[in-house]
């Protein structure tokens, strides 16, 4: 049994993490699909799926609500859905609105916040918001959704770790001393910053006002004003989410490609998980160039001789050249992965080779799932 099947059987939450462009969303979808064939009721929360992948899961538009993938899709791909597969995309703004609704002391105050312009900008511009809301949605699905397993994709960031710090970054931002230092006097003075007792804050406000305009300053002051009294709720929830991620029901699956950069990031990520005491489950090495045999030792002189020969000889020269080029990639990828083996023991790895088709439809996902859950790891000749 592969290391990933074991996680599917034992865990309630699988977090797929890794840098952008390594096939994280596809892996998350394949894990979900496989879990459904094993009888689980499973939800896959994607962040930003490719259009064809989304439509292969039956997601036509952004929807924060789980959508059931029909059993017919499974049978068409030659699979049997013993359980149920649900897919959804994160809607950051809606999730944030729900959070505000939950923690605002009154409906009136919640509506005031949701209608505020500064608030509306947060979900689209403030970094960390998407990550925070992904965690929030995960928590909710876990608590209330009645799923056996939730597989979550993480936002594509240059730094795969961002989402770990996101809740703290956002609460820090809301409580920032800098903001309180000049905004609260501004609010108390009823927007008349000239009357602010603190001279430095007065200068500061004058410049900010010049840059962003008075309206913006008013919106901001109103936002932070109406947030008063809600900080504890936010912080409490952030703590609960963190506790869930640290618990035994959760497992992190790190996805990487064998490219130097993403390997470096995966290595760093694995050690960060370790430091943070978060449960690491498996490493998926995606998009590995396949190795078809031992290196053929053809000398350049032999190849150039062939290049000058008959059509047959020239074909052989090209075949050798092609083999040599791929062997260089294969060996390079193996070297890149060796460093990773020192951090993560190989029995926690699953290698998924580049397949001859793309995983953009249901059968394509099934092919990826086959690789992820293969009973024996694909043989790699060394």
């Amino acid at each position: 049994m592969s290391v990933v099947s074991d996680l599917v059987d034992r865990k309630e939450i699988i977090v797929c993490a890794g840098s952008g462009g390594v096939g994280k969303t596809t892996a998350a979808a394949a894990i979900g699909m496989h879990a459904a064939t094993r009888g689980k009721k499973v939800a896959v929360l994607t962040i930003d799926p490719a259009r064809r992948l989304a439509s292969s899961l039956g997601l036509k538009e952004l929807s924060n609500e789980p959508h059931r993938v029909s059993a017919r899709k499974f049978s068409a791909a030659g699979l049997e859905a013993k359980g149920e597969l649900y897919a959804m995309m994160l809607d950051t703004k809606t999730t944030f609105d729900q959070v505000v609704m939950k923690y605002a002391p009154s409906r009136e105050q919640a509506e005031k916040i949701i209608g505020n312009r500064f608030y509306r900008n947060i979900s689209s511009t403030l970094s960390g918001t998407q990550e925070y809301m992904a965690m929030e949605r995960l928590y909710e699905l876990h608590a209330e959704g009645g799923y056996d397993l939730i597989v979550i994709d993480t936002p594509p960031t240059r730094n795969a770790l961002d989402f770990l710090d996101a809740p703290r970054r956002l609460t820090d931002f809301f409580e920032s001393r800098v903001l309180r230092w000049f905004l609260i006097p501004y609010m108390k003075a009823g927007g008349g910053f000239m009357r602010v007792a603190n001279v430095a804050a007065g200068t500061f406000l004058r410049i900010v006002k010049r840059i962003v305009g008075a309206e913006v300053l008013d919106d901001t002051a109103e936002f932070f004003g109406s947030l008063e009294g809600m900080y504890d709720g936010f912080k409490q929830r952030a703590r609960e989410v963190a506790a869930l991620l640290h618990s035994q029901v959760t497992s992190f699956v790190v996805i990487t490609s064998p490219a130097e950069q993403s390997v470096a990031e995966a290595t760093f990520f694995a050690s960060r998980l370790d430091e943070a005491g978060l449960p690491f489950g498996a490493l998926v090495v995606n998009r590995v160039h396949p190795r078809f045999g031992d290196r053929i030792e053809a000398r350049p002189r032999q190849i150039s001789k062939l290049e000058q020969g008959s059509a047959e000889a020239r074909l052989l020269a090209k075949l050798l050249e092609n083999e040599e080029a791929f062997m260089r990639v294969v060996e390079l990828e193996e070297r890149n992965l060796e460093g990773l083996a020192r951090k993560i023991p190989r029995h926690r790895w699953v290698r998924v080779p580049y397949l001859e088709q793309e995983a953009v439809d249901f059968p394509g996902l099934a092919a990826i799932a086959d690789q992820l859950f293969a009973t024996t790891a694909p043989a790699v000749r060394r």
Partner: protein
């Protein structure tokens, strides 16, 4: 296309989805320009990237530092841009720490989305106008944020210009709009991979640049394309049954003994190349069909790809292809 024409605008903005090789292409363009005798400045934006690693330098600061002959590098950080802006604009010599703290920049950019982008573009404008540094440059290559964010990045000045009716900030936003909309001053090069998602995002971006933002584009780059090694006749032969004995004889003639396992491997790699290549071709066709700009295919690098010699090779490939346009 003549190289002079390619490097006609001073500012080349290179952008694409994360992981498509945007930084590598930026570095290759810088090398190309330097080889043509330009003094080049290459700018990393906001996040720390792999640019310094390519040139073997330690890390980049806010002011251009020389990385190799003809090429300077810097990292544009919004916090520092804001400090510089306040210094230049308000003649503030001592700038309160509060102004340049990350929280404050986060606050101000949330309050006025796009301000962070304007601060970054403002620094590029300073460089173009040779306002704040002693160095002057013929070419400025911007390793711009990932494409999703890039549209907001490039539309920030016009957004702000629309929002503010008067005042100094409005005037400055207008300067940036003029800079970006002048094809003789700035041009965008999109980098993508021949894969579904990168191509569809690139097409969305290219349309938005053209229709909404009116920012000129240069050729697009499709990165990591497998080569067309075999001729159509050879492909045909490979698809049919191949006379191994004949090939084996050819090998022996040059002193190369090949057994059946070797042939299995040779044919498997050829088939692999073909299947990957045909997937890529579908996406390349979509890319070409969806854009009016020429598409330059860059080879899949069969070696590390991040070391300077690889990037220099890539620069040669680009130069050759640009000249053929």
């Amino acid at each position: 296309m003549l190289l002079d024409e390619f490097f006609d605008p001073k500012i080349l903005i290179v952008s694409g989805k994360g992981g498509v090789g945007k930084t590598t292409v930026s570095a290759a363009l810088a090398i190309m320009a330097a080889k043509a005798g330009h003094r080049v400045c290459i700018a990393e934006v906001d996040e720390k990237g792999t640019l310094p690693a390519i040139f073997g330098s330690e890390g980049l600061g806010y002011e251009p530092s020389k990385m190799c002959p003809g090429i300077w590098g810097l990292r544009i950080i919004p916090e520092e841009s804001l400090a510089e802006y306040l210094r230049v604009q308000y003649h503030m010599k001592r700038i309160s720490k509060a102004f340049t703290s990350t929280h404050f920049v986060d606050y101000i950019t949330t309050a006025a989305p796009g301000l962070k982008d304007i601060l970054i573009l403002g620094k590029i404008w300073y460089l173009e106008q040779e306002r704040t540094t002693k160095e002057r440059f013929d070419t400025i290559v911007v390793d711009a944020p990932a494409a999703g964010h890039m549209l907001t990045f490039l539309s920030a000045p016009s957004g702000l210009s629309d929002a503010l009716r008067v005042g100094p900030v409005r005037r400055q936003a207008d300067w940036l709009v003029q800079m970006l909309r002048d094809p003789k001053r700035a041009r965008v090069h999109l980098v993508t991979l021949p894969e579904e998602m990168p191509v569809s995002e690139t097409l969305e971006t290219t349309r938005a640049l053209e229709e909404r933002l009116e920012i000129a584009q240069g050729p697009l780059f499709a990165n990591a394309v497998y080569s067309e090694l075999f001729t159509p006749q050879e492909e045909k032969k490979l698809k049919g049954t191949i006379d191994r004995a004949a090939l084996r004889t050819q090998g022996e003639a040059v002193g190369l003994a090949l057994d059946d396992e070797d042939f299995d491997a040779l044919f498997s790699y050829a088939r692999f190349l073909r299947s990957r290549r045909s997937i890529q071709e579908t996406h390349l066709r979509n890319l070409r069909a969806g854009t009016g700009e020429p598409v330059i295919e860059l080879p899949f690098l069969f070696s590390a790809g991040l070391a300077l010699p690889d990037v220099e090779n890539l620069a040669d490939v680009i130069e050759e292809k640009v000249e053929k346009l």
